[in-house]
Symmetry: C2
Subunit: 141 residues, 2 copies
DNA sequence: GCAACCAGTTGTATTTTGCAATTGGTTTGG
DNA sequence: CCAAACCAATTGCAAAATACAACTGGTTGC
């Protein structure tokens, strides 16, 4: 599953895992939209295909960024959760959003979170990380 | 050249430009290794192909992250420079490096910059951005 | 003037992605 | 109790992106 690394540079290693069009959008949906189910990711505005979603979730699972658990209330549903390693991606997602919002034609409807993160600084990020930990890190989740 | 955006989300827009295995490595090389020439990018450890490099440089050029100028001292050489928009990617690159260094098996030989950025905080980032501006933003460069 | 160097380009094989239809099973509503 | 809707995927195929190697026309250094 994991191809051998082309270099030991931390930026390269991170990009080998997350450097594609979809992986970080999935994590964005977990962080900012509270999505936890396969079907929810599928319904995102960008329109990921189900086979790509399956493959990306498997990869994120394999490298320890998310976990997968059965929904106790619904035998068919799987609940995807962020790990501590995944929650630590928030500052990175925040920088992507801030930069995109500054330099690209983001729609005002979507600009809210980026704007808030830009003004809230590290205090807001830490608060959001605490909330995510609360929602995702519950024993076994 | 620019495909239509799948959504106006700033994270999505940024990922449509930079969400691939190579674009951010090129910018990393400009920021941390001082590379400015086609041949230098080609010699990076990860081994980008020349056709991919050509295409990525063209894209970064088209969206205003880098500029291209003729080397006054060498008719054949092209000098690639970061724009202000490109220099503002440093906080993003920094977060990628910090996260990669914390969670992935980065080699000690490559970990230096990430470690420094983690400890130096925003003061270091601002200092580095000032240096990059000095080197890349000289009138017309 | 010849070898090394420069920024690419070309051609082809391989891999990844996108898209649509489908699967086997579960839950919901009447 | 049965049908329709929902669930997380899987399959097959076409299209696009990527990797790899060879090559191009021109420039520079010795």
């Amino acid at each position: 599953m994991t191809a051998q690394a082309k270099s030991g540079c931390p930026i390269n290693l991170a990009l080998e895992l997350l450097g594609d069009r979809w992986s970080l959008l999935i994590i964005r949906d977990m962080m900012f939209a509270g999505k936890r189910h396969f079907r929810e990711f599928l319904q995102s505005e960008e329109g990921i295909s189900s086979n790509i979603l399956t493959e990306r979730l498997a990869r994120l699972l394999a490298c320890g960024i998310v976990t997968r658990a059965d929904d106790p209330d619904h035998k068919q549903k799987a609940i995807y959760s962020l790990t501590a390693m995944g929650i630590e991606l928030l500052p990175l997602l925040a920088q992507i959003g801030i930069w995109g919002n500054r330099h690209l034609p983001a729609s005002t409807a979507h600009a809210g979170p980026a704007k808030a993160l830009e003004q809230g600084g590290s205090a807001l990020i830490q608060a959001m990380q605490a909330e995510l930990a609360q929602a995702h890190l519950q024993q076994g989740g």
